[in-house]
Amino acid sequence: MGLLNAVVQGVLLGGLYALYAAGLSLMFGVMRIVNLAHGDLGVVAAYVALVLVTHTFLPVWAAVVVTVLLSAVAGYLLQRLLLQRSLSSGPLATLLVTFGLSVILQNVLQELFSADTRSLDTGTFATAAIHLGEISVSYLGLLGLGLALATIVGVQLYLSRTATGRMMRAASDDPEVATLVGADARHVYAVATSIALASVALAGMVFAMRSSFSPTIGSMSLIFAFEAVVIGGLGSLWGTLLGGLGLGLAQSIVGYYDPADSILAGHLLFLAVLALRPQGILAARGT
């Protein structure tokens, strides 16, 4: 029974990891950008939502929607104004730019909000759960998993069914040829970053509801998100979902037997995938 509970909790946790990782995976898949500020951008979203909840009359759900929209706009601008310029200088430049962005964001947040622990208070929702015998399925866990599934299915549909989505795949395969046939690579890239930031904003806010946040906590989630992307396979969104779930399950099942090895189990899974199947569980097509 306890083991079954561990599996259920692992799936819920994995959903949150996948939600965190989806944006990272998309940005790598489309532009080959490893965004080291990914976790921090989620934390920024949590602070934005907190400010909206405390200083306006918006209820939490409305603040979440507004924050996602703001993040999407911020993502578009971030790509056009900052990342696009560094792209032409090679992968190392984008890595350094996002690293710098991470440092700046952490310090600006600390300057504005101090290092105090904050949380997005959702009242009884935060502790509510469906109880099935010994297993309890928390509403927040379900929310994280549901949003992860919705985000990944939504982005997949967008990539396969819409014109911009198809151009995104084309620009990902070969930006120059895509531009030749009429795609505006810069616009397409900015849309991808916009989606990535909206999804990490969701992840950051769900995390802020289930735990707490402070300016420097973003890097912790970056590690798990990065591992989920690599375990699932670089550039594959379905893979990222599987990677997140795998990571969550590894942590919670091993944690059931020995809490000391829970985090280690996730790292070992990551290393095992790198050593035995470096392309990940589901490799992106064509690479």
């Binding site: 306890g2 509970n5 561990a6 909790q9 692992g10 946790l13 949150l16 310090n107 600390q110 101090s114 290092a115 105090d116 622990t117 904050r118 949380s119 208070d121 009242g123 935060a126 502790t127 509510a128 759960a129 109880h131 010994e134 309890s136 928390s138 927040l140 289930r210 735990s211 707490s212 946040f213 402070s214 420097t216 906590i217 912790m220 798990f224 969550g248 942590q251 919670s252 944690g255 059931y256 037997y257 020995d258 809490p259 000391a260 829970s262 985090i263 280690l264």
Partner: protein
């Protein structure tokens, strides 16, 4: 016109550069003299105190009152103090450890070598106080630290009975004080078993509890239900929670890092683990944590080593704890934290010891006086000669519980004073979950 201005600029720049060079040359000459004479450092009419604390980074909550304390002390000491038969002014140099032990060592070196301070004080978890104390011990610099369990400070730095520290001293609590604070509250609870659930991760602080408080609990007749040595930063606690539930433990204690406690406590509520009394250490020290946890903070108990309700007065100017907290609230708009009293006392200790010595520039004399200091001030009585090891003054905490406050959303109410009967109670002990 423009050219002329630019010319002037260039000339004045050169002038300033020349002055700067002279100043740099002069100061290095001075420091060379200091090196030769050995004992004297900065100008003898001024005594310099260096403060190292984590003003930025994850530990910054511990330092949130530092700026206010430094200002308060500076204005209280405007007239200077009499030390070694002479009127001397006090200067405070503040350095940021950025919450990193490496950085803490670096800035301590700066304080000793470039700022030429006469004493170094430091606060805020072993990550700050231990490297600072080590550096001071190595450089022969008198040093006081606080907010670090003495076992972590003493054994964590390779101290052994018979191999004590000459220059570094500290005041705070140890495992015995946590036991004296928590056990009476557990005794007062109407619980059916003596099982105590313990959430202790695998880090320095929690291992000190596991190895120190654990055996004390067993000796007092409690059974420790150890949730296991999990890693800091764990995001899922279902295995610990189900273990606690199975054991039927109605008492709960823990020493996690603050964000992990927020995650754990919510998950425990989701999964229906509701201990009759939770007594926590290391977390719920700051009102911001209680606010972040919201309604779930209600009646969580913790150790309180400093509170404005304690009848303590500053040894510098007689300010009461309540006045200090009120002043802090009106100047910064923030609620008091326990660190406020501790950081204030760091400077009290420095002033007390400067007043006692015949030559405050003599590092060995100051260090020896620190080890023998026994005074009463903002943190009550601190006796550095009467602790478990030389140079350690022990504070006696009371048990406090978080509840909605009148002035602030969440406040600590003192509910148990078995460990320090002189402190007045401000509330009743209530079950965390009934």
């Amino acid at each position: 016109m423009n050219d002329q201005l630019r010319g002037l600029d260039r000339r004045s720049v050169l002038k300033w550069a020349g002055l700067g060079a002279a100043a740099v040359g002069g100061s290095s000459l001075l420091s060379a003299c200091g090196g030769l004479k050995g004992s004297s450092s900065s100008s003898s009419d001024t005594l310099k105190i260096g403060l190292v604390s984590p003003q930025t980074g994850p530990l910054a909550s511990f330092a949130s009152s530092d700026g206010f304390v430094v200002q308060t002390i500076q204005s209280a000491l405007q007239g200077g103090i009499t030390s070694g038969g002479k009127k001397r002014s006090i200067e405070i140099v503040v350095k940021d450890s950025q919450s990193s032990p490496t950085r803490a060592t670096e800035v301590t070196k700066e304080l000793i070598n470039s700022d030429q301070v006469d004493l170094v004080v430091s606060s805020g978890t072993p990550d700050t106080s231990n490297p600072v104390a080590d550096q001071c011990e190595a450089s022969g610099m008198p040093n006081v630290t606080t907010i670090v369990p003495w076992e972590a400070w003493f054994f964590g730095r390779g101290g052994k009975p018979g191999k004590e520290f000459t220059y570094s001293t500290m005041f705070f609590l140890g495992m015995q004080e946590f036991a004296d604070c928590f056990f009476p509250m557990w005794e007062r609870m109407d619980v059916s078993s003596k099982n105590v659930a313990a959430l202790w991760p695998d880090d320095t602080d929690a291992n000190a509890f596991r190895e120190g408080l654990g055996p004390m609990m067993e000796k007092a007749g409690y059974t420790v239900v150890d949730g296991g040595k999990y890693q800091d930063g764990t995001t899922d606690y279902s295995s610990q929670i189900s273990k606690f539930k199975r054991s039927g433990a109605e008492l709960f204690t823990c020493t996690p890092i603050p964000p992990d406690f927020q995650t754990y406590w919510r998950q425990a509520a989701q999964q229906g683990y509701r201990p009759t009394l939770a007594t926590v250490a290391k977390v719920m020290l700051f009102p911001s944590e209680a606010e972040a946890l919201g309604k779930l903070s209600n009646n969580i108990a913790t150790d309180v080593w400093w509170s404005p309700s304690y009848p303590n007065e500053s040894s510098i100017d007689g300010t009461t704890g309540q006045q200090l907290a009120d002043d802090f609230a009106s100047k910064t708009g923030k609620q008091w934290t326990q660190a406020l009293g501790s950081v204030y006392s760091l400077f009290e200790v420095a002033v007390e010891v400067f007043k006692k010595v015949s030559d405050p520039k003599d590092k060995n004399e100051v260090a020896a006086a620190l080890h023998n200091l026994d005074y009463t001030g903002m943190s009550g009585q601190l006796n550095f000669a009467g602790g478990p090891q030389p140079g350690i003054a022990i504070q006696k905490p009371c048990g406090g519980q978080w509840r909605p406050g009148k002035k602030f959303p969440w406040d600590i109410f003192i509910v148990d004073n078995h460990a320090n009967p002189n402190m007045p109670l401000t509330g009743d002990l209530q079950p965390t979950f009934s």
